[in-house]
Symmetry: C2
Subunit: 243 residues, 2 copies
């Protein structure tokens, strides 16, 4: 079989968020990520796979295609046997316990993907994003999250409204904050990470008292601030290490 023109049109359109929302579909590629999605609660729509892709799922959802066709629809430098269209799941209800990460306008898909992986590693079950944050079904995010997308509840929210309705202690990562190594960090909390260039926006900052920072040990003051995914890694480690 090969790919029909209408299928090709849908696949191409899914690089844009508005078409992902219209179709309620997103793309995942490659053995590792596709297999993680197939073995999760996510629903498959269609799988385009070359003959050497093996799986146990029902065959009416697999369309066998040539390597050449896979190359045509793939966004990877080295296409890897399979491209799947998956159904965007309903958002889960808001969780009011545990440790929640809130992202204020994260733009880079690689950063969001890395943060999703980190949430999975550190047992953070809920990730809340401002509406301006990059879409988690953007294909670069899906690939960078390496399957962790299936295990984290991700919701897009209005941060100001959310903060007004929560009782959990809330922390902001901020260059001028208190030394995180000397801060008492509760087991259940909200941690807000800000935009790559500008940090957490001023309107959110004014709402929150607790600001924490990772101290700089290098001698010079010229060192660029830590990347937001790297900072998230260190702060999550600090929140979890005592419990």
């Amino acid at each position: 079989m090969s790919i029909s023109k209408s299928q090709l049109k849908i696949i191409t359109s899914l690089s844009q968020k508005k078409y992902r929302q219209n179709h309620q579909l997103f793309i995942a590629e490659g053995l590792k990520v596709v297999n993680e999605l197939l073995n999760s609660s996510f629903k498959i729509d269609t799988l385009f796979a070359t003959d050497d892709f093996q799986t146990d799922i029902s065959l009416d959802k697999i369309i066998r295609i040539s390597d050449k066709d896979l190359q045509k629809i793939s966004n990877l430098k080295a296409p890897n046997k399979v491209l799947g269209l998956f159904v965007i799941p309903d958002e889960k209800p808001l969780q009011k316990n545990g440790l929640t990460i809130v992202l204020d306008t994260i733009n880079d898909p690689g950063n969001l993907g890395t943060i999703i992986r980190l949430c999975d590693w550190f047992g953070v079950s809920q990730l809340l994003c401002s509406a301006e944050t990059v879409d988690c079904y953007n294909q670069k995010v899906v690939q960078a999250s390496m399957g962790s997308l299936t295990r984290i509840s991700i919701k897009y929210i209005d941060i100001e409204i959310y903060l007004k309705e929560t009782n959990l202690p809330t922390f902001i990562a901020d260059m001028d904050g208190e030394n995180v190594y000397k801060s008492a960090l509760p087991k259940e909390a909200i941690l807000i990470m800000g935009n790559e260039a500008n940090g957490v926006s001023d309107k959110i900052k004014t709402l929150i008292k607790n600001k924490i920072s990772i101290p700089r040990f290098g001698e010079t003051q010229e060192t660029e601030s830590l990347n937001v995914a790297t900072a998230t890694a260190i702060l999550l480690s600090e929140f979890k290490r005592s419990y």
Copy 2:
């Protein structure tokens, strides 16, 4: 002025390590990175800049070029006013004190660049790399390191020989290692980080007793291991937080 054919040939050749070594030159691009290099002990060879690039350094080393010419020689999606050829500095003598990071076959330029930035942030003054590790003057490394390259002593070494000649306590990041949060970490030490896919090589592993790991807090065992740059961030934070 414009770029001569021989200059164009050199610039293009510097994407390959052997030509960087022949010419003892590497490329850095964009305002931020070039300015950090100009304000360091690194020596400038030639600067190709558009008219809107301003600097105080002596003019005989600047060649003014058009936006179109900059686009032609740039490797960035959005060229930013200047591309510089800098002289690869002599390696500094081996330091025998402090905290040293050793990289065993790190392949990804972005990972090496991020680790260089982390060394700068955490005051690690020496980074040692196996000969198989990606070259730190690879342009993607230079750009990802955001100027931190100028503040870290980076040497390419034979790890086995180095380990035989050091008396410092040595640690390996290893999935099966002791929980790092429960480990006593000395102020002066060597920390070895391994390849993205395979970790630290077996021949090195057998030489070292102390293996440390970052525990997984998530419930499932399916989570992909942490990215090497992310793991380096967390381990450096652990080594430094008590001192």
